[in-house]
Symmetry: D2
Subunit: 145 residues, 4 copies
Amino acid sequence: MTSSPYKPVLTAQQLADFFVEAFPGQNSGAVQFVRVDPGVVELRQTPDETMLRPGGIVSGPTQMAIADRAAYAVILAHIGIVPMAVTSNLNMSFLRALPAKPFFAGAQLIKLGRRLATVDVRIWSDDPAILAAQSTVTYAIPAET
Amino acid sequence: MTSSPYKPVLTAQQLADFFVEAFPGQNSGAVQFVRVDPGVVELRQTPDETMLRPGGIVSGPTQMAIADRAAYAVILAHIGIVPMAVTSNLNMSFLRALPAKPFFAGAQLIKLGRRLATVDVRIWSDDPAILAAQSTVTYAIPAET
Amino acid sequence: MTSSPYKPVLTAQQLADFFVEAFPGQNSGAVQFVRVDPGVVELRQTPDETMLRPGGIVSGPTQMAIADRAAYAVILAHIGIVPMAVTSNLNMSFLRALPAKPFFAGAQLIKLGRRLATVDVRIWSDDPAILAAQSTVTYAIPAET
Amino acid sequence: MTSSPYKPVLTAQQLADFFVEAFPGQNSGAVQFVRVDPGVVELRQTPDETMLRPGGIVSGPTQMAIADRAAYAVILAHIGIVPMAVTSNLNMSFLRALPAKPFFAGAQLIKLGRRLATVDVRIWSDDPAILAAQSTVTYAIPAET
């Protein structure tokens, strides 16, 4: 692995505070920022019952929501608070059932451009080599004013 | 447009009942089945405050959740209640901001195979020619036992 | 179906001429522009032996190449010759084997923005209701200078 | 990085021989297998003039073709020669222009199931931390007979 060309400008606490404020209706306490490193943010989510689907496993939309959140977080971590960054594309491959217990989402910047940023997000339960899902997420970053 | 080679086997009411039962923790009343036709299901969702993002618009995860739901619904509408059908891939392109008011998701079967089904889902607010998002969703259908 | 909000500014012949000139190394004669309508371009490709894969069917890369070409064509058809428009994302779902004979790619603009354009491309052999593949392609359009 | 749970069963030479035989019409000599390791295959491609697009850069279809090829190769490397494995989905994000000189495609297995295999492919020119493209590719593996 080569070292990341990126440097975070926000801490995990600053990111957590932003999400609580930006998404007031959501139970943001269920998501913890466990790691903010160059080019990388890692989240840990404790699913509640509304996040499950038939089979008693974590639903696909729950996984897509955390992937989108993790991508947003890793971008803001490196450019600062730019709330109007918006998802332009998200692709997710679901690989294995994700059991109903806390799970992780690791987001890695693969390109941070001025207008578009692309992030690789991986979701796992216990072992980051045994993935439940992989997602590639592109955000559009608004032009500075 | 050519006519659909598919025929639904469930009614809108049967689909609605299944979703209420299968996702007990969710406010399924916010989603209505407005159309079930050969190869097609159309949903109407009234967003609540937890579904918004900075800018006061409907969040990406909310749109992905309804796209996944609409794809699941159009597949079950044509093969009957098979709860363990699971998403294997979802790709979504976000095209325009979706204002905070009721919106539509139209799902069209583009291939219903024995093991995989692929669905085109489009999301709009007022005019189906002015799309907020397009999604292609693939479900894996479990082998019969 | 609602009518398209888009109007082409180039003819099939002008598009064909552009592609011959822009891709001098390729056998552009194997691709014909069979339709240019509001929001839509349709191509017909005759595959040669280098485009086949084990099983004697048209290869995936051949289908992705024509999808990318069709998307580029429908965008240029509506904004004029802007060679430096570049693909920013392509997603393709392969649905059925595509036999080794002439096939069609139909591209429909689903959003033509100033900076990004998104196109739905479908590939079929004989019947446009029996698809071999579906692709969603996003192009980045360079800022005017 | 955690170690790969996968073990190759073919060598680079065996893979190269298979591709020459399976794709007789193509100039397979332009693609070299530079690495076959647990869970990973790396290819090096020397583009010719037919692989360029306006701007004198490597075309998108050329990058998609090598990504598809690299995904096929890393799967066969781990399950043996199963020619009828076929692509079921390919998603590619184009991140930067790829100059007209030899470039690399690194494919990593992210899930090798019995029926579906998913591969992360990255393309770069000089530095694997400066990506030109990222692709997630899913192959369907035929049932054993």
